[in-house]
């Protein structure tokens, strides 16, 4: 394998994504649920410049091609030319810019995608955090203690890994009510098995190292040896495994939300947005395109970052 140094660009891209996602409420031009004018703003393509005409306290009309005439305004709304006298407006026309277009209910896709990414990445992050906790705990016990503990725990891991994760979620969705919490619990509760195997293998290879022997000779208890001395050694390997798991979990969460098995609205997720656009590809390809691009780019970045981390963990003498 070529000894390429880890690339800063990827870390920067992930950082940017994290920033976008945390700052979603500040960055989104409008609330993700806002339906200003469901009929007028329906399926506006990306980069549409339009205006919001306020007719009264409650109603706004989203129009394009606004022109001033002698006695009022001329514009296009939902594909038809219309006109309004100047006196019909409750205020001056407000400019509207739809960078990523709108959906069937005239909601701004940029705002929805930002909030959707926040939701999807948040669920994936919490799931991986849960998985890391469980995986480290079980893997450490199995790898460090060995013997009957190892056998019992690893047989359990094997059994859990034999049920495809999608089906575990389907079963839980039938038994309980779908919600964000259920998603995190099931995704985290099925992801940890792979991490536990990684930790166990690592523990087994270093539990008899000089480092562990010296720590034990100084009288440290097993818990202290594992947490303070051995786990830090596994850091890079764990980071690699965790970023791969993160990518898989994001893909799975999106697939489940796409099928409508995620948390119900008003929760908005990347998969959910794609699901709402999948039957109108011919009229509004952009609804499916943006969430897909974000998921694909995130997954690709995470996977190549994992490869970088792995190279960091892997001494050059081995390769």
């Amino acid at each position: 394998m070529s000894a390429r140094p880890p690339q800063r660009g990827r870390i920067a891209l992930l950082g940017l994504l994290a920033l976008l996602v945390t700052a979603a409420p500040l960055l989104a031009p409008r609330p993700p649920e806002l339906q200003e004018d469901a009929a007028g703003a329906r399926y506006l393509p990306p980069l549409t410049r339009g205006h919001g005409l306020r007719v009264d306290a409650l109603h706004v009309r989203i129009v394009t091609g606004l022109r001033r005439t002698a006695d009022g305004w001329e514009f296009e709304r939902a594909g038809k030319k219309e006109a309004l006298p100047g006196t019909a407006l409750a205020g001056p026309p407000e400019p509207r810019f739809y960078l990523l277009g709108t959906d069937a209910l005239g909601r701004d896709l940029l705002s929805r995608v930002l909030f959707g990414a926040r939701h999807s990445l948040g669920i994936a992050a919490l799931s991986v955090a849960l998985a890391l906790f469980l995986g480290i705990a079980v893997g450490s016990v199995a790898g460090y203690a060995g013997g009957a503990w190892d056998t019992a725990l690893m047989r359990g891991v094997d059994a859990l890994m034999s049920i495809p994760r999608v089906l575990v979620y389907l079963l839980c969705a039938a038994l309980f009510t779908p919600s964000s919490l259920l998603l995190v619990l099931v995704l985290g509760g099925t992801t940890w098995t792979g991490l536990a195997r990684v930790v166990r293998a690592g523990m087994m290879s270093i539990r008899t190292s000089d480092l562990a022997l010296q720590a034990r000779a100084l009288g440290s208890r097993p818990l202290r040896v594992v947490i303070l001395h051995l786990l830090p050694q596994l850091g890079p390997i764990l980071a690699t495994a965790a970023s791969l798991r993160f990518a898989d979990t994001l893909l799975l969460e999106s697939a489940l939300s796409l099928l409508g098995l995620g948390p119900p609205p008003p929760a908005v997720s990347l998969g959910g947005i794609m699901g709402s656009g999948r039957d109108v590809l011919a009229e509004a390809w952009w609804i499916v395109a943006w969430p897909g691009l974000i998921i694909g780019a995130t997954v690709a970045t995470l996977r190549s970052a994992a490869a970088d981390l792995f190279r960091l963990a892997d001494p050059p003498s081995l390769s």
Partner: protein, 323 residues
């Protein structure tokens, strides 16, 4: 070899019992029982008690657990609540359709992935190598469900070449055997591509990298010095070594294939097990969901058994080490 076979098969049964135990715990943890009485008109208390007795939900924990194991291990999967038919029959019908799809995807995945990887390594650092590398990196990262939607949009909606959903045309029953198979294959193309392309890309990337490494090794130079042709070196010496881990990969990738086919089946309205499970969830048909989970897990355990046996055939070191 025989003792390896026996040991490996014997380890599958505890695994299946483990799967059943996990699912049992989940079902027991779910709130309520099927015969819970709602206030108001409905089932009387006596009738509910009678139903509980028939279905055995009033028995003690251990008895329920043993009955549960016995039921699944003997394929007595109960009756579907939404279809009012035995679950086993429904699952068997759907399983055939899933095997068509997953089998075709698996073959395509390995053939396409290996061929692309070999081609890239053959023309190293040529435009084709770069093309394979680039395309595979993109395809490997793209979610398969997104690829599915894009393929439908391009090949079905825009160009109208292929049907976008279902397994047969509406008039398929009136067709002869030949046209009918053709009809099935036309319906198979899009879901199969969507399911296979991302994994094929992964395999292509792996085979390409592995071949490039292997072709620089001393044993390849020795083979060349002995006068072996380029085809012989790449196919017989390098590819054979590169493929052993790919076979192992198959066992690891199987849960993903089964899981991925759930999404693809639903998107393409393919009447397989994934779609059956999905519809069962929407209908809150727990026995049917359980049946699907059980058969899918059996498939995964059986598949990884097959992968282990295959790699034991290919690699004597595996046989010696045992399971």
């Amino acid at each position: 070899m025989l003792s390896f076979l026996a040991r490996r098969c014997a380890s599958a049964l505890p695994l299946l019992i483990g799967v059943l135990t996990l699912v049992f715990v989940l079902v027991e943890a779910a709130p309520g029982d099927p015969f819970q009485i709602e206030p108001g008109p409905g089932v009387s208390r006596e009738a509910a008690a009678h139903l509980r007795e028939i279905y055995g939900t009033d028995r003690p924990f251990l008895q329920r657990y043993l009955a549960w194991l016995e039921g699944f291990l003997s394929f007595d999967l109960g009756v579907s609540l939404s279809y009012r038919e035995p679950v086993a029959g429904l699952v068997r019908k759907a399983l055939g359709n899933t095997l068509w799809l997953a089998g075709a995807a698996l073959v395509l995945e390995f053939v396409l992935g290996t061929a692309a990887g070999v081609a890239a390594a053959w023309w190293q650092r040529r435009p084709l190598d770069r093309l394979v590398g680039g395309a595979a990196t993109v395809l490997y990262s793209v979610p398969s469900f997104w690829l599915a939607l894009v393929l439908v949009f391009l090949l079905s909606v825009r160009l109208g070449w292929l049907p976008a959903s279902q397994m047969h045309s509406i008039d398929a029953l009136e067709l002869g055997a030949g046209p009918r198979l053709l009809d099935l294959l036309r319906h198979l193309v899009l879901p199969c591509l969507a399911l296979a392309l991302p994994s094929a890309a992964g395999i292509a990337l792996y085979v390409r990298q592995e071949l490039k490494d292997l072709l620089g090794r001393p044993f390849v130079r020795i083979a060349r010095a002995r006068g072996a042709g380029r085809v012989g070196i790449v196919l017989r010496h390098a590819l054979k070594n590169a493929l052993v881990p790919v076979v192992n990969l198959f066992g690891v990738a199987l849960p993903g294939l089964v899981g991925g086919s759930v999404v693809i089946e639903v998107l393409f309205a393919w009447p397989g097990m994934g779609r059956l499970a999905y519809q069962a969830v929407l209908a809150r048909d727990t026995p049917l969901v359980l049946g699907c989970v059980w058969v899918a897990s059996l498939g995964v355990v059986g598949g990884s058994l097959a992968a282990d046996l295959l790699s034991a055939v290919l690699d004597p070191r595996v046989r010696e080490a045992g399971p």
